[in-house]
């Protein structure tokens, strides 16, 4: 049984020096000097990690290459240099520790914008987070992880460029964006701030990658919300139409395979993500950059083994109306004895994924770089749920912890359909990257109750309780939403559409994943990534 990326070759490897060796676009835009050399000598490249190889044919597979080591998440470059933009955030910090534990050389930048924004709004992370200096010290003390950190705003291209030149990243994870739909809808200034930071930050990054590290891959956080919820009910494909999609018009037909699918963003924040998508798509096309655009579902949870290892390593958790995601907010409300706030009918369907599962997906994407010039999209989601069903689930788990929870329907401040079809395609992570979700919804919610019911955290939740109920309307109004109905869990009849998640998992079933993990353990390539090829 082979690991999912065993067959990938130098063409996927960030250490392969392609620039100056490969005549990309052998379709009329070729460089004459390279062309003449290739005609004379054939196509040969060099390796940045193994310069002694000289010029060689780029056909070495990850399985064969001594630089790629087996881990339970696939072959991973030894001491792979991964740079995380937004390393102080909910996801950035969590991923930094996970990658560090796998033996990657982790670097990261942050300008602490998120910490400033929550202060501006009078809220804070309910899980205490430590200053970066303390975090870095604890990572070294507890997990023996060294993280190279710089305080840099990604809009400062000069400083970011200097750091990228110093680190020479082999993969860049871009979490350095403002993440909130309601924050972008507060007013004009906030909408402009979100779009400027996100769109211009990403565009500048693409130019820097072209100059400094064109062979590294960009793993960019997008969101399922880029697609919206099309009322035709057509599936949300993974960014590009599949091979057999066809456009028929006036008796003629054309293939749509590989074309970008329509986007229908649902806030000015989501528009910024769509704009990023187009900028990245173009940069891949113009400069042979390679990228995974990750359409992540709504994320929830608090746990990975690394962040749970010490209180100083915990990642942030927000529950206010701007930065709190729905499950996180419901758990906070349950703990305070507030009825859980479901917007409108609560029949809205969204894709979700637990923090721990999302981190595993990111590692698998980092370990499996796209091909030169390839813009690819993955829908990173482990389950589809109606908001009202999530409230029922949180209420059920809350009861295990002794909380008697009610649910309330409130006015919906957003512009969205109360009832809508929702069908999501997510076939790449399970089939091409070997991912199987491991964290059921209820398990993660239990972990959240275990952490958030600690007295010092309950106290912190209490301090921001008045900011959980929304007051930011898509219409521009500022008024706290009113309650429409309060009901006990299990008493409301469900209507609306049944969601459908298409994974085509048969090519890489769960049993195969377990088989791979056992095989990796047998050759000593566990979490530490220190296995050898035997």
């Amino acid at each position: 049984m082979k690991l999912h990326n065993a067959h990938k070759t130098c063409w996927n490897c960030p250490a392969a020096i392609l620039k100056g060796n490969v005549d990309f676009r052998a379709c009329g835009q070729s460089l004459e000097a390279i062309r003449r050399r290739i005609e004379r000598e054939g196509l040969l490249i060099e390796c940045a990690r193994l310069p002694d190889l000289g010029h060689f044919e780029p056909t070495i597979t990850f399985e064969e290459c001594p630089e790629w080591r087996p881990t339970k998440y696939g072959y991973l470059l030894e001491n792979m240099r991964v740079m995380i933009l937004g390393i102080d955030g909910y996801l950035g910090w969590t991923l930094a520790l996970k990658l560090g534990a796998l033996g990657c050389e982790v670097s990261g930048v942050d300008c602490f914008l998120r910490r400033k924004m929550v202060r501006e709004l009078g809220t804070d992370s309910v899980v205490p987070i430590y200053p970066m200096e303390e975090r870095l010290k604890a990572a070294k003390e507890v997990l023996d992880i060294d993280i190279k950190f710089r305080e840099i705003n990604i809009l400062d291209r000069e400083k970011l460029g200097q750091f990228m030149r110093e680190v020479q990243p082999e993969a860049i994870v871009h979490y350095g964006e403002i993440p909130s739909a309601p924050y972008s809808m507060i007013d004009c200034n906030h909408a402009i701030q979100v779009q400027y930071n996100n769109v211009i930050g990403t565009l500048g990054l693409l130019f820097l990658m072209k100059e400094i590290c064109p062979e590294s891959s960009l793993i960019k956080l997008g969101t399922l919300g880029e697609y919206g919820a099309p009322l035709t009910g057509r599936p949300l494909f993974e960014g590009l139409f599949p091979a057999d999609a066809v456009l028929r018009w006036r008796g003629r037909e054309w293939s749509l395979g590989g074309e970008l699918t329509p986007r229908d963003p649902v806030s000015f924040y989501h528009v910024s993500k769509v704009q990023d998508t187009f900028n990245i798509y173009e940069a891949c096309k113009y400069w042979w950059l390679r990228s995974y655009d990750v359409m992540q579902g709504v994320i929830y949870g608090v746990h990975t083994d690394e962040v749970a290892a010490d209180p100083r390593l915990r990642t942030r958790l927000d529950v206010d109306e701007w930065f709190g995601t729905v499950v996180n907010r419901f758990v906070a409300q349950a703990i305070l004895g507030m009825p859980l706030t479901v917007y409108g009918e609560g029949e809205q369907i969204r894709g979700f994924i637990a923090l721990e599962d999302a981190m595993e997906c990111m590692v698998r994407l980092i370990s499996s770089p796209p091909e030169p010039g390839q813009y690819d999209v993955v829908n990173q989601v482990s389950g589809l749920h109606k908001v009202s069903e999530l409230a029922e689930t949180v209420a059920r788990v809350a009861a295990e912890f002794g909380y008697d929870v009610k649910i309330q329907r409130v006015e919906n401040p957003r512009v969205e359909a109360d009832y809508h079809p929702f069908e999501v395609v997510s076939t790449k992570l399970p089939n091409e990257l070997g991912f199987t979700p491991k964290v059921p919804l209820e398990v993660e919610i239990r972990r959240m109750f275990e952490l958030l019911t600690q007295p010092h955290i309950v106290e912190r939740i209490r301090k921001v309780a008045h900011l959980i109920r929304p007051r930011t309307w898509w219409s521009g109004e500022k008024k706290v939403v009113e309650t429409l109905e309060v009901y006990r869990p299990g008493t409301r009849r469900r209507r609306g559409f049944k969601p459908r998640l298409i994974t085509d998992r048969e090519r890489f079933p769960v049993s195969k994943v377990e088989e791979v993990e056992r095989a990796v353990e047998a050759i000593g390539g566990g979490e530490g990534g220190d296995g050898n090829k035997g």
């Binding site: 063409w11 052998a26 379709c27 005609e39 590009l240 091979a243 057999d244 037909e253 293939s255 590989g258």
Partner: protein
């Protein structure tokens, strides 16, 4: 089946069967997707038409030789000669039509 520069003569020019070659690039999303359809047609046309793909960046000699200016480009070869060429990504129906048209030019293959 993905072929390389070094296989081109054997797999394409010296093939007993007519051969549909798709020239593609990793930076071309429609090319990436079309592989799945070509895979399906390869089975369907087994014994009548061979279907192969070749990456233009990894195999520049073939790309130079046939003056590839756009991907995907399709060329159908028979006994070493290009008997049909076309450009732009195709639907399954359009590909099947292209193959059938080419086969009509080769009576012995019907």
């Amino acid at each position: 089946m993905e072929i390389r520069d070094r296989d081109f003569d054997r797999e394409v020019l010296k093939s007993e069967l007519p051969v549909l070659v798709e020239f593609w690039g990793s930076w071309c999303p429609p090319c990436q997707k079309e592989k799945y359809i070509l895979e399906k047609l390869r089975e369907e046309y087994k014994g009548r038409m061979k279907i192969v793909t070749i990456n233009v960046d990894r195999n520049p000699r073939a790309a130079y030789r046939y003056g590839i200016k756009c991907v995907p480009t399709y060329i159908i070869f028979h006994r070493g000669e290009a008997i049909h060429s076309d450009i732009a990504a195709k639907s399954e129906g359009q590909l099947r039509e292209m193959i059938e048209e080419a086969l009509k030019k080769i009576p012995n293959q019907l």
